[in-house]
């Protein structure tokens, strides 16, 4: 369990270039496994192009109260990258211009951004259909100043999407840190108390599951059934949907794969589970991801790999939907994580 980000530990993998190199050498360099490019060329999906822009995902900063071992953001308390109010102003303009129906705020812990509440208030006026905040749950109980977050979310009709790796303490704590499970349960109860996840409230609370180790997630419906059964029976907790997300081999999860000598087997499992039907539904086909400093990416993963959109327009300040529409999506071997099995996106399975 890391206690600091790769960046603070000055780990080689904190450099995106090193990660990309790693993903192109070894079993991929030797040709033992096909490159993602070759794989999707064979199914006629190359070049990979976006469809209509539907989701704008804004990363409000890499600071987080947790240091999860699988974190693809390399987030943690030691990360200082935070979106400024000026950049948020640009985001508000783009939200209106983009025509996206979903706004998705993520981080780090987006709530730790000092302008978070101001921004949510402003953005909720923009007439977005689905306004998502990705909350790690523990932030809600981390400090008194966050205790009223459930009420705040409710007031702005925010759709809360929260990660809970498992419905049992042990696996959750191993991935996310000691005590995380109990705090998450406490936060879920607070969300339920104001109506989130309860039938008829209209307040959506979805949970995100991602495997606590070097294996792929199984069927989303079956896991949702198990989560619901366990959380209702053990804690009387309700939620709406469970999204299963595959861990992508980047950042701290890549570090873990290499250190535990699971990298090759994991990549082989991803390649073997390649599902052509998931390619055209990968989230980069309907999402644009914006970093804390306003750069544009095909997805949050490409953001962490430093792969800016391949377009004339690369920054919020020049945002023009038409330019982005014709771009070619940047891909590498990490993309196998999105196309394995039922596929994986921030909205869970895609097929």
């Amino acid at each position: 369990m890391p206690t600091k980000s790769l960046q603070a530990r000055k780990n080689l993998l904190s450099d995106p270039q090193e990660q990309l190199k790693y993903l192109s050498n070894g079993i991929f360099g030797s040709g033992e496994l096909p490159l993602f490019r070759e794989k999707i060329a064979a199914t006629g999906d190359l070049p990979l192009k976006p469809k209509k822009l539907e989701i704008l995902q804004l990363n409000l900063g890499y600071m987080c109260n947790q240091v999860c071992s699988h974190c693809h953001v390399d987030a943690g308390p030691d990360r200082k990258e935070i979106m400024t109010r000026e950049t948020m102003q640009l985001c508000l303009e783009v939200i209106r211009k983009s025509g996206a129906h979903t706004l998705d705020l993520t981080g780090g812990a987006p709530e730790m951004n000092p302008n978070f509440r101001w921004f949510v208030e402003e953005a909720s006026k923009a007439g977005i259909q689905d306004f998502i905040v990705r909350s790690n749950l523990t932030i809600i109980v981390a400090n008194k100043k966050y205790y009223d977050l459930p009420e705040f979310f409710k007031k702005h009709n925010v759709h809360v999407v929260s990660s809970l790796p498992f419905y049992k303490k042990e696996k959750t704590d191993r991935q996310r840190g000691n005590g995380v499970f109990d705090k998450s349960i406490q936060a879920l109860k607070m969300l339920n108390a104001v109506g989130y996840g309860r039938e008829g409230s209209g307040l959506k609370l979805d949970l995100v599951y991602n495997p606590a180790g070097a294996f792929l997630p199984a069927n989303q419906q079956a896991l949702e059934r198990d989560f619901k059964k366990a959380l209702t029976a053990d804690f009387d907790i309700d939620f709406n949907e469970l999204f299963c997300i595959t861990n992508l081999p980047i950042s701290r999860f890549l570090e873990y794969l290499i250190a535990s000598e699971n990298y090759e087997d994991y990549m082989t499992a991803l390649v073997e589970a390649f599902n052509p039907a998931a390619v055209q539904n990968a989230m980069c086909t309907n999402t644009v991801s914006v970093s804390w400093d306003g750069w544009l990416y095909d997805c949050d993963f490409n953001q962490m790999l430093g792969l800016k959109v391949n377009s004339k327009v690369q920054h919020l300040k020049d945002f023009e939907p038409e330019f982005l529409q014709n771009r070619e999506i940047c891909i590498s071997q990490h993309c196998y994580g999105c196309t394995a099995g039922a596929g994986s996106s921030c909205q869970g399975s895609v097929t």
């Binding site: 498992f166 419905y167 049992k168 696996k171 495997p211 180790g213 294996f215 792929l216 997630p217 199984a218 069927n219 079956a222 896991l223 198990d226 082989t268 073997e272």
Partner: protein, 112 residues
């Protein structure tokens, strides 16, 4: 080159290649295998636990690797996995011991 051990974890991935030497029977087997593990009267989760227990009873290292991973993917917990192994062990132990009755029968028959 022949490997120096009887079992190589990498061979599990090559399981499908048994069809190369007998396409008809190989594909029949895999088709049957896949149907067996579909959700039916038993859930796929229950079947995975049965498979794990049987893997131990037949002591197949490939199957143990495969169904431990399958269990993890399905959210099966280690307590459940270990209980399943004990079920297998109990049946195997019981099967040994119940033959003790046969031994007793034979002993009694041959003894004055």
């Amino acid at each position: 080159m022949m490997s120096k051990t009887y079992y190589d974890p990498a061979d599990l991935k090559k399981f499908g290649s048994i069809s190369e030497w007998n396409e008809k029977l190989g594909s029949k087997f895999f088709e049957y295998y896949n149907s067996v593990f579909e959700e039916g009267a038993l859930t796929a989760r229950e079947k995975s636990l049965i498979a794990l227990a049987v893997s131990h009873v037949v002591q197949c290292p490939y199957c143990i690797d495969a169904y431990t991973k399958d269990g993890l993917e399905r959210g099966i917990e280690k307590e459940e996995m270990m209980e399943a192994v004990h079920v297998g062990a109990a049946i195997k132990g019981g099967a040994t011991l119940v033959h003790g009755v046969q031994m007793m029968n034979k002993y009694n028959k041959l003894s004055m």
